[in-house]
C-alpha cells in the first residue's frame, strides 16, 4: 500500500473538484451509442436459453434432451452432468478427484469464526434435484432466440416431487424436508455474538422495548437484465462481455469454474445498465454460457428475460427482525438485542455477507449501544434466492432500529429529533464491535434535515392527515473481508505523446458516475485539463485492479488509487519539465494543462511539450510517463483473540446521514402521498455535486418503493411477478420533491476528504416514511411495503 500524502485542497483552489462537471460518458449515452453486452453481435453467434423448474422441490429422475439436440438450428444442449461443479459467493468447488477449494488466509479463516464458511451450494445446472420454481435444469444454444425457446419445449424432464417448505419457521421445524442435505434444520448459517453485557444493559434501562419488523423481497429492477456473451479464441482464452459490478472478481471466479489460469479470462463491461448489488457475483448463467461456447466453438449470448430477472437474478433479503432495546428515562440507549430470521430461498448467494453487514455495522453502530447481542438464522426455503442489494442489510436493520426509536420517543415523551441528537454518533466514537468513527457529521445532518422539512412547525401545529418523520443512518465506505484481507484497487495513468493522459481504472462504472469522479480526481491531481484525460475501464486486461463497485467504495478506494497513480505520474512529468526548464523539480507545479515555476508562473510548459520531449526528444532518463497507484484501506478483520475488530474496523471510514419525510395519508383509502423528502448526508467532500445528488435521488426513489409499493409476491413458491406490470415502481409523476443537503466533514482517509455515497440514501427512507405515517394518522405499520391495506388494517386495529 503506497503511503498517501494528505493533500489539503481548499475549495476555492480546486479546478475540478466540487464542480458540476458533465459526465464523461454522457454524450455516448444520450446519443444511444453506449454499447452493453446485448448489443454485441458476433459472426456465428448462438443464442442460449435455460430450461427452468416448474416445481418447488423435486428429485430429477431423467432428462431426455435427444429431441432438442436433433432439432434443426440447435447446436448444443447441456444438463447438470456436463458441468460438475458447485459454487457460491466467493467459492467454486469442483467435484472430482482434484477438488479446488478456496484457501483462506489465517485472518480470513478467523473471520469465518464469526462469518460462516463460503457455501458452494449451487450447481449451474441442476444435479440430482431442483429446489425452487425457476431453478436451472438444462440449457440450449441455437441459431436464434425462437429456435432456442422451441428447443426448450422438446426437453423432457421426469421428476419425483419432494415435500417443500416455503416459510423459514416451517423449514426449521423438526422433520422438515431438507433442501440441502448437508444443512440440518435448513439453517444455511447461524450468526451469533455479543459485545458488552446486554443483561446488565437491560437492567440499567428504565424502559425496555421489544418489537418485530418484517421486510419484503425487493427487486433490483436494473434496466439491463443479467446475461453475457462468451467467446473462446483458438488458444483457450475466453472473452466475456457482461453486465457486472465486479469484473476482476468475476474473472477470478469464472477462471476457477473453468479451471484455467485467471489471465486467460477477459471480462469486458464498459457499460452497465444498472446493478444496485445484483451483479456482484458470478451467476450460473456465466458458467453455462462459457460451457456452451466451448462445446459449440461459437460465440454464445445468454440474456435473462425480465421474467427471469425477477426470480433468478437475486433480490433483497427479507428480514424478520425482533429488536429489543433498553433506554434510560432520558432516552439514552443502554442495550440492543436483535434476533433475525432470514428467508434465504433455495441458495445462499450473498446471504451470509448481507446478514453479517447488518449485524456488525448499523446494529451495533447506530447510536452506539454500549451492549449488543445478536442471533441471526439464515434459513433455506424452496423459493427464489435473494442476494445483496444497495444497503446490504442496512435498510432492513435500520427499518427496525429507526421505527422503534419513534416508538420509544413517544413513550418517553421526547421529541424524535431530540432523541436522535441525544444518541447521535460523534467523531472519535468507538462502537462495541471495535469500529472507530473518524469523521462524522451526523449531528449536523439531523439538525439541517429537521430544519429543512419544517420539523418544529409541523410537529407543533399538526395538520390533519399530515405528518413528518425522520430517520438516520450509519453505513460504511467499503468493507473488508468479503474476498480476503483486502479492500483495495490499482489505477494507472499514462501520458500519451501529445500530452494527453489515459487513465486506466479498475473500478466499474455502473451509472453512478465513478468514471467521471475518478477522472476529476486525476485531473485535479495531475494538474492537466480534464478534457485531455481519457478514462478507460471495464476491461480486466487493463493494467488495473479493483475488487468492484459495491459497498459505496468506488470513489473511496479507487479514488485513492487514482490519486496515487496521478501523483506518481505528476512527479515523473515534473522531472522531465525540470530538465526542459532547467530548474529543480521541487520548484515546479502543474495546473490546468500547464507546468510552471511556482515562483515565476510565466515560465511554463504545456503537457504536450513535455510529452514530445519524453517520447521523441533527448530526455536523459529515457523512461516514459506511466504512473501506477494502489491503495488498500487501513481497515481490519475480525480478530478472534480479542473477539472484535481492531480500530478502525471493517471499513476505514463510516458514513452518516439523516432523512426527513412529509406525508399526507388518505384515511379512507390508506393511500400515502409523499409530499417532500429531505436528505442530509455526511459526504466528506463533494467531488461532483450533480453526480452526488443523482446517487441520493436515485436511492430515495428505490427507498420509497421499498417503503410503500415494491414487493415480489410469491405464492405457493411461485414468483407471481412476471413483468413490470405486476411490480409497482414509482414513475416520474409519483416522485415528490427531494431536497439534498451535503455536509462536508473532510474525511482523513478518502482522497481530498471524500467518502462513498452510493448506498446511504437508500437506508433510512422506509423508517422515515413509516414514522411520518404514524405522525400523520397514528397508524404504526411494522411490515414493508406499507401498502394501503396495511395502513387501513393498522387504523382498524387502533379503533
Amino acid at each position: 500500500m503506497s503511503e498517501l500524502a494528505r493533500t489539503e485542497l481548499k475549495r476555492s483552489d480546486a479546478v475540478y473538484l466540487g464542480k458540476r462537471i458533465s459526465r464523461v460518458d454522457g454524450p455516448e449515452k444520450v446519443a444511444g451509442q453506449a454499447k452493453y453486452y446485448d448489443d454485441v453481435t458476433l459472426p456465428g453467434m448462438l443464442i442460449a436459453k435455460i430450461l427452468r423448474s416448474p416445481v418447488s422441490h423435486a428429485r430429477i429422475l431423467r432428462i431426455d434432451t435427444s429431441k432438442a439436440e436433433s432439432m434443426t438450428g440447435v447446436r448444443a444442449v447441456l444438463t447438470g452432468k456436463d458441468i460438475p461443479l458447485r459454487f457460491g459467493f466467493n467459492i467454486v468447488e469442483h467435484f472430482d478427484v482434484e477438488k479446488e477449494k478456496t484457501i483462506p488466509s489465517e485472518e480470513v479463516a478467523a473471520l469465518r469464526g464469526l462469518m460462516p464458511e463460503p457455501r458452494p451450494d449451487k450447481p449451474p445446472l441442476a444435479i440430482g434435484k431442483v429446489r425452487y420454481v425457476g431453478d436451472d435444469i438444462a440449457a440450449v444454444a441455437a441459431v436464434d432466440e425462437e429456435t432456442a425457446e422451441d428447443a426448450l419445449s422438446l426437453i423432457e424432464v421426469e421428476y419425483e416431487r419432494l415435500p417443500h417448505v416455503f416459510e423459514p419457521v416451517d423449514a426449521m421445524k423438526e422433520g422438515a424436508p431438507l433442501i440441502h442435505e448437508e444443512c440440518p434444520g435448513n439453517i444455511a448459517a447461524h450468526l451469533k455474538g455479543e459485545w458488552g453485557d446486554v443483561e446488565q444493559g437491560f437492567k440499567k434501562a428504565d424502559f425496555v422495548f421489544e418489537d418485530t419488523f418484517k421486510t419484503q423481497h425487493q427487486a433490483h429492477c436494473s434496466m439491463e437484465t443479467h446475461g453475457c456473451v462468451c467467446n473462446w479464441d483458438g488458444q483457450g482464452n475466453l472473452t466475456v462481455w457482461t453486465s457486472i459490478q465486479v469484473p476482476h472478481m468475476l474473472k477470478r471466479e469464472i477462471a476457477r469454474a473453468l479451471r484455467i489460469p485467471h489471465s486467460r479470462v477477459k471480462i469486458l463491461s464498459e457499460y452497465v445498465g444498472g446493478a444496485f448489488g445484483s451483479k456482484t457475483e458470478m451467476g450460473s448463467y456465466h458458467v453455462i454460457c462459457a460451457y456452451l461456447a466451448k462445446k459449440t466453438r461459437c460465440p454464445v449470448k445468454l440474456r435473462f428475460t425480465r421474467e427471469e430477472e425477477f426470480f433468478a437474478s437475486g433480490c433483497r433479503l427479507p428480514f424478520t427482525t425482533t429488536l429489543k432495546t433498553g433506554v434510560t428515562r432520558d432516552g439514552r440507549v443502554t442495550a440492543r438485542q436483535v434476533t433475525i430470521v432470514i428467508d434465504k430461498g433455495a441458495y445462499m448467494m450473498q446471504g451470509a455477507a448481507v446478514a453479517f453487514y447488518a449485524l456488525t455495522v448499523p446494529m451495533p453502530g447506530l447510536y452506539k449501544p454500549p451492549a449488543y447481542k445478536f442471533d441471526a438464522k439464515i434459513v433455506y426455503t424452496n423459493k427464489l434466492p435473494p442476494t445483496g442489494f444497495r444497503g446490504f442489510g442496512n435498510p432492513q436493520a435500520t427499518f427496525a432500529i429507526e421505527s422503534q426509536m419513534d416508538i420509544i420517543a413517544e413513550k418517553l415523551d421526547i421529541d424524535p429529533v431530540e432523541l436522535r441528537l441525544k444518541n447521535a454518533n460523534q467523531p472519535g466514537d468507538l462502537t462495541v464491535s471495535g469500529f472507530q468513527v473518524s469523521s462524522c457529521g451526523l449531528t449536523e445532518c439531523i439538525q439541517r434535515a429537521a430544519k429543512a422539512i419544517g420539523w418544529e412547525e409541523k410537529r407543533k401545529n399538526k395538520l390533519p392527515n399530515r405528518g413528518v418523520g425522520l430517520a438516520c443512518l450509519f453505513h460504511s465506505s467499503g468493507e473488508r473481508g468479503a474476498y480476503g484481507d483486502c479492500d483495495n484497487a490499482i489505477a494507472t495513468v499514462k501520458m500519451n505523446d501529445d500530452g494527453s493522459m489515459t487513465l486506466f481504472i479498475g473500478a466499474q462504472e455502473l451509472g453512478t458516475g465513478s468514471l467521471t469522479g475518478l477522472t476529476q480526481i486525476a485531473a485535479e491531481t495531475l494538474g492537466c485539463r480534464i478534457e485531455d484525460i481519457k478514462a478507460v475501464s471495464g476491461n480486466t486486461d487493463l493494467p488495473t485492479f479493483d475488487l468492484g463497485s459495491y459497498a459505496s467504495r468506488s470513489l473511496f478506494i479507487s479514488g485513492n488509487a487514482v490519486k496515487a497513480a496521478a501523483d506518481n505520474a505528476k512527479n515523473q512529468i515534473l522531472k522531465i519539465a525540470a530538465e526542459l526548464l532547467t530548474v529543480p523539480a521541487e520548484e515546479l507545479d502543474s495546473r490546468e494543462g500547464k507546468i510552471f515555476v511556482k515562483s515565476d508562473p510565466n515560465k511554463s510548459l504545456t503537457f504536450k511539450e513535455v510529452a514530445m520531449h519524453a517520447y521523441y526528444g533527448k530526455w536523459k532518463e529515457r523512461d516514459m510517463v506511466v504512473g501506477v497507484g494502489s491503495w488498500d484501506a487501513p481497515s481490519t478483520l475480525f480478530d478472534p483473540k480479542i473477539g472484535k475488530w481492531k480500530p478502525p474496523g471493517m471499513a476505514a471510514t463510516y458514513t452518516f446521514g439523516c432523512q426527513a419525510v412529509e406525508v399526507e395519508v388518505n384515511p379512507e383509502t390508506g393511500n400515502v402521498k409523499v409530499l417532500k423528502v429531505v436528505t442530509a448526508h455526511d459526504v466528506g467532500r463533494v467531488i461532483n455535486p450533480t453526480l452526488l445528488e443523482g446517487q441520493l435521488e436515485g436511492a430515495i426513489h428505490q427507498g420509497l418503493g421499498y417503503a410503500l409499493t415494491e414487493e415480489i409476491r410469491v405464492e405457493d413458491g411461485k414468483t407471481l411477478v412476471t413483468d413490470f406490470r405486476d411490480y409497482f415502481l414509482r414513475r416520474a409523476s409519483d416522485m415528490p420533491p427531494i431536497e439534498t443537503i451535503l455536509v462536508e466533514t473532510n474525511d482523513p482517509y478518502g482522497a481530498y476528504g471524500l467518502k462513498g455515497i452510493g448506498e446511504p440514501a437508500m437506508v433510512p427512507v422506509a423508517p422515515a416514511v413509516a414514522n411520518a405515517i404514524y405522525h400523520a394518522i397514528g397508524a404504526r405499520v411494522t411490515q414493508l411495503p406499507i401498502t394501503r391495506e396495511r395502513v387501513i388494517k393498522s387504523l382498524e386495529k387502533n379503533d
Partner: protein, 154 residues
C-alpha cells in the same frame, strides 16, 4: 411461415427488410443495427424501447414491425451523433439526467416529441409524459430538470 418483403422508413431512410409475420418492431430495429432501441422488459412495461411513430412515442416491443410499414420511424440514432448533440441531449448531459444510460434513448425521444407538441410544458406535464419510461437510477429528478431547461432555452 410466410416471411414478407417490407420497406421500413427509419430516421429518414428506407430500409428493405424481410420480416417474420409476428416480428415486433423492437427486434427488427435492433436486428438492422439500431442498438439504441433497448430491450429491458418483455412487453410494454418499461419504455426503454420507445421509438417515435409519425412523431408520437410508442413501445416498439408491442408494435408489429409490419404494422409500422408506411410510417415514419424515429430512433435515437436519428437525432444526432455524440459529437453534435441536439438541445435536449445536451441538457441531459449537462444536468446529469443520464446515469447508467439504458433508459436514456427512450426518454430523449419522449422529450423530443413532447417539446415539439408542447414547447413550454409545466413540470407536472413533463412528469406525466415521461411516466411511461422507467428509470431506476435517477429518481427522475434530473431528467425533469433537463427537459424543463431545454424547453426554456428554445
Amino acid at each position: 411461415m410466410k416471411c414478407m418483403q417490407s420497406k421500413l422508413h427509419i430516421n429518414g431512410y428506407d430500409y428493405d427488410v424481410i420480416l417474420k409475420p409476428h416480428e415486433n418492431l423492437r427486434e427488427v430495429l435492433r436486428r438492422i443495427g439500431f442498438k439504441g432501441v433497448k430491450k429491458s422488459c418483455d412487453v410494454g412495461g418499461c419504455g426503454v424501447c420507445t421509438v417515435l411513430l409519425d412523431g408520437r412515442p410508442v413501445y416498439s416491443c408491442c408494435t408489429f414491425a409490419a404494422w409500422a410499414e408506411g410510417k415514419q420511424i424515429t430512433t435515437v440514432e436519428g437525432l444526432a451523433s455524440p459529437e453534435e448533440l441536439d438541445l435536449i441531449q445536451r441538457n441531459f448531459v449537462e444536468k446529469g439526467a443520464s446515469q447508467c444510460g439504458f433508459c436514456t434513448p427512450g426518454l430523449v425521444l419522449v422529450a423530443e416529441a413532447l417539446l415539439k407538441r408542447n414547447p413550454q410544458p409545466s413540470e407536472a406535464e413533463v412528469r406525466r409524459e415521461i411516466a411511461g419510461n422507467i428509470c431506476r437510477c435517477t429518481g427522475y429528478v434530473k431528467v425533469v430538470d433537463a427537459i424543463l431547461a431545454a424547453s426554456k432555452k428554445r
